[in-house]
């Protein structure tokens, strides 16, 4: 099983991973103003156009100064993905490599995947007539060609490393053991929601970096299944309405922007 280990203590916040992700996956730039989150974070959140984001967290250092700690947000590629389990038409599926990928040809737009994902990852293209779900696909095309994902490939400090899950777990344990005081003694993703292919190490408790720390070790779908089965049709309808609304709002903004240009 292919996996990724992201070590927050090695991240320098350069965001080469964000650019590499957009470059490989042909994702457009978002229109941003100032910053979308703490520090230099941009964009503010994951979206259909942004599949990974480095979040900035200001924290006190051992010398009493303040510095940033960085965390990488992206699909965790769960070992037992709730999104795939909740999808009524198998538009989301887990490949042998561990990548959880999406097939727009099968998707009916019900957005169950968004509702069950414990990490709030899948994003809906609200402004498209035939919207798709968008999220990190683990650069599955690269993995299948024997390459590593674009983000880990671009990382200049090896804060993101790619490899076999067993090897990475071992590497993570060694780093924690060999650097007393540097890491919190936890490999995030080793057992959360049944384990994930993307795993994180950090020097501060994970809740300070925006990670959910109240997740059980059992797969999400075990708990969510009964509830989810009751609602898909309601959500399908709501999704269509919200989608139409987003289209109109966007259209209005575009027309307004066009007028402003003319006025110049």
């Amino acid at each position: 099983m292919k996996s990724m280990l992201i070590d927050s203590t090695r991240c320098i916040g350069c965001r080469a991973c964000q650019v590499a992700c957009k470059e490989w996956n042909n994702l457009p730039a978002e229109k941003t103003e100032f910053f979308g989150g703490s520090g230099y974070q941009n964009p503010g959140r994951l979206s259909s156009k942004t599949w990974t984001v480095i979040s900035f967290h200001e924290a006190e250092t051992s010398t009493g100064d303040y510095d940033w700690i960085f965390a990488k947000q992206q699909c965790m590629h769960c070992l037992e993905p709730a999104c795939a389990a909740a999808c009524p038409v198998s538009a989301l599926e887990q490949l042998k490599t561990g990548a959880v990928v999406y097939d727009p040809g099968k998707c009916i737009g019900c957005r169950n995947c968004q509702l069950v994902c414990p990490f709030d990852i899948p994003c809906f293209e609200w402004n498209k007539a035939v919207p798709e779900i968008k999220k990190c696909n683990f650069c599955v095309d690269r993995i299948e060609a024997g390459m590593e994902p674009s983000c880990s490939c671009a990382c200049p400090t090896d804060a993101i490393v790619f490899g076999e899950r067993e090897n990475l777990l071992q590497k993570a344990e060694i780093r924690i053991a060999n650097n007393p005081g540097k890491y919190v003694n936890h490999i995030y993703g080793r057992s959360e929601v049944g384990g994930t292919s993307v795993m994180h190490l950090a020097g501060v408790s994970f809740d300070k970096l925006g990670f959910r720390t109240n997740l059980s070790d059992s797969p999400v779908w075990d708990n969510a299944k009964p509830a989810m089965e009751a609602i898909p049709y309601v959500m399908t309808g709501l999704g269509t309405i919200l989608g139409a609304l987003a289209w109109f709002i966007n259209r209005k903004t575009e027309i307004k922007a066009g007028k402003e240009v003319k006025n110049d």
Binding site: Q18, Y40, P43
Partner: protein, 480 residues
């Protein structure tokens, strides 16, 4: 230029309208030119100074030419770094549109100038008798790229006639093997003696700058002598004879650079020794008049010993010396007062400094035109402490003005604990930091922080005092 003594300017990949100190004055100085040629990948702030915000293009007499240039992957040639390596680069893709390599542009420029001088002129010989043949013929040909290998071989140098050197007969046209073989009788030529030894034969395989050997030298200290080439004579560490004691044994046994192995075998180790003399025969700092490394540096204008001076604009007195500022610096406010005004700590109580973000490169032309990088850092911003923000009623995302005696800019405010006030001489002094890489061109636009900085030249290098000035900051608009 501002005094109208300089009539024309070639700007190859330079953007002084953003990167120059006191940029408002530098922009006005460009207006005094008769002509300006900008050679760049993008229409930079400098290239479009004549239509910048706040000026009337009709009133600017400068004739401006913008020549689209190739990027580094669109042409073949060499680059050098400050570690003295010269590395060869291959062309990966064709340039877009009419973009040309700087080599093509210089070659065409020479041909055009030569043509003018052929018709006569004052002292035409240095132009008309110049040896200039890079494989493109006599006429300017838009499709003929000059051969960078000819240039590189000429920079290395070659023999212009047969000559016996060091007991060896060198033939006319042979490449000079290294700088010790250069002659003072016209039998050799070399573009730059430092690069002599970089291209030692007529074939492309003799181009040492193109070497990509990944093997480290025997001493395993990371010199990688077969990767590219380093001046002089591929010596990776200059003055390396200082790394041994008087017997020639390395001071650092674990990380030897070179080692003396006796009168016959001389030096071994890993690096090229800085001269073949036996240890003790000659002091190692061979380019210094006394042969020694210098703490007492008589050649420095503000030497011989280091001293602390305050920046010209400073909110505090110099606690280390009765001399407030470096007495040897170039003070433009005295020599060229127009626009070079100074601020005092009463009107401008806050320390200003400027810096870069990793998302943008230098004056920003190459990165502020990239949508993905513009997404990451779209606007000019200034960072400040919680304490200063509270005094000024500023919150993150607010628009603020920053003012110095030279000018005023707008920026977004980023309030951060990473900035802290200083306590100096029992007084609280605040500091702000501004990203300087913005301007009025490109996708991501913003005011240039160098509008605020001043023309002060370092005593030895003339590097401007960009990084310390006095300013004031005020909120103009609350965050949306």
């Amino acid at each position: 230029m501002y005094a109208e003594k300089i009539k024309g300017l070639f700007c190859f990949g330079q953007n002084p309208a953003v990167g120059g100190p006191n940029a408002g004055k530098e922009r006005s100085a460009l207006e005094k030119l008769d002509w300006m040629v900008a050679v760049d990948l993008w229409e930079t702030e400098t290239a479009q100074f004549w239509k910048r915000p706040g000026v009337d293009p009709k009133k600017i007499k400068t004739e401006v030419f913008l020549l689209p240039a190739c990027s580094s992957v669109e042409k073949e040639g060499s680059i050098t770094n400050s570690g003295r390596w010269a590395q060869w680069r291959y062309k990966a893709v064709n340039p877009p549109g009419d973009a040309r390599s700087d080599l093509w542009i210089v070659d065409a420029l020479y041909k055009a100038i030569d043509k003018e001088y052929q018709a006569g002129g004052v002292f035409p010989d240095p132009i008309t008798k110049l040896s200039w043949d890079y494989g493109t013929g006599k006429e300017i040909d838009p499709d003929k790229e000059p051969d960078p290998h000819i240039v590189a071989r000429e920079v290395n140098g070659y023999f212009t006639k047969d000559k016996m050197v060091k007991g060896k007969l060198m033939k006319k046209g042979d490449q000079v093997p290294s700088f010790a073989w250069l002659q003072d009788d016209g039998s050799t030529c070399s573009g730059n003696w430092l690069y002599c030894n970089s291209y030692t034969g007529k074939n492309k395989k003799d181009n040492k700058m193109a070497r990509r050997g990944k093997k480290d030298a025997g001493n395993n200290i990371g010199l990688f002598p077969e990767w590219s080439w380093c001046w002089p004579v591929n010596r990776r560490i200059i003055y390396n004879r200082a790394s041994v004691d008087l017997q020639g044994n390395p001071w650092d046994k674990k990380r030897p650079v070179i080692k003396w192995t006796g009168d016959i075998t001389k030096w071994s180790g890993g690096d090229v020794p800085d001269g073949g003399w036996a240890p003790g025969d000659k002091h190692p700092f061979i380019m210094k008049s006394d042969g020694h490394g210098q703490l007492w540096a008589s050649s420095l204008a503000d030497g011989p010993l280091p001293e602390h001076y305050e920046p010209l604009e400073s909110p505090v007195n110099n606690l280390m010396s009765s001399q407030h500022i470096n007495p040897a610096i170039k003070l433009w406010y005295k020599d060229a007062p127009e626009g070079n005004v100074l601020g005092d700590k009463k009107n401008f109580p806050i320390i200003g400094t400027t810096y870069r973000v990793s998302e943008h490169w230098q004056a920003g032309a190459m990165t502020r035109n990239q949508p993905w990088l513009a997404e990451l850092v779209p606007n000019v911003f200034t960072e400040m402490s919680m304490e200063l923000a509270q005094i000024k009623g500023i919150k993150s995302g607010d628009k603020v003005t920053i003012k110095t005696a030279r000018g005023k800019i707008e920026a977004y405010a980023l309030v951060t604990r990473r900035f802290k006030p200083f306590i100096v001489q029992n007084r609280t002094v605040h500091q702000i930091g501004i990203i300087w890489q913005f301007g009025y061109a490109g996708i991501a636009k913003g005011d240039s922080a160098n509008i605020l900085t001043s023309h002060i030249g370092d005593a030895n290098t003339m590097i401007p005092e960009f990084k310390a000035f006095l300013c004031d900051i005020n909120k103009i608009r609350r965050a949306a």
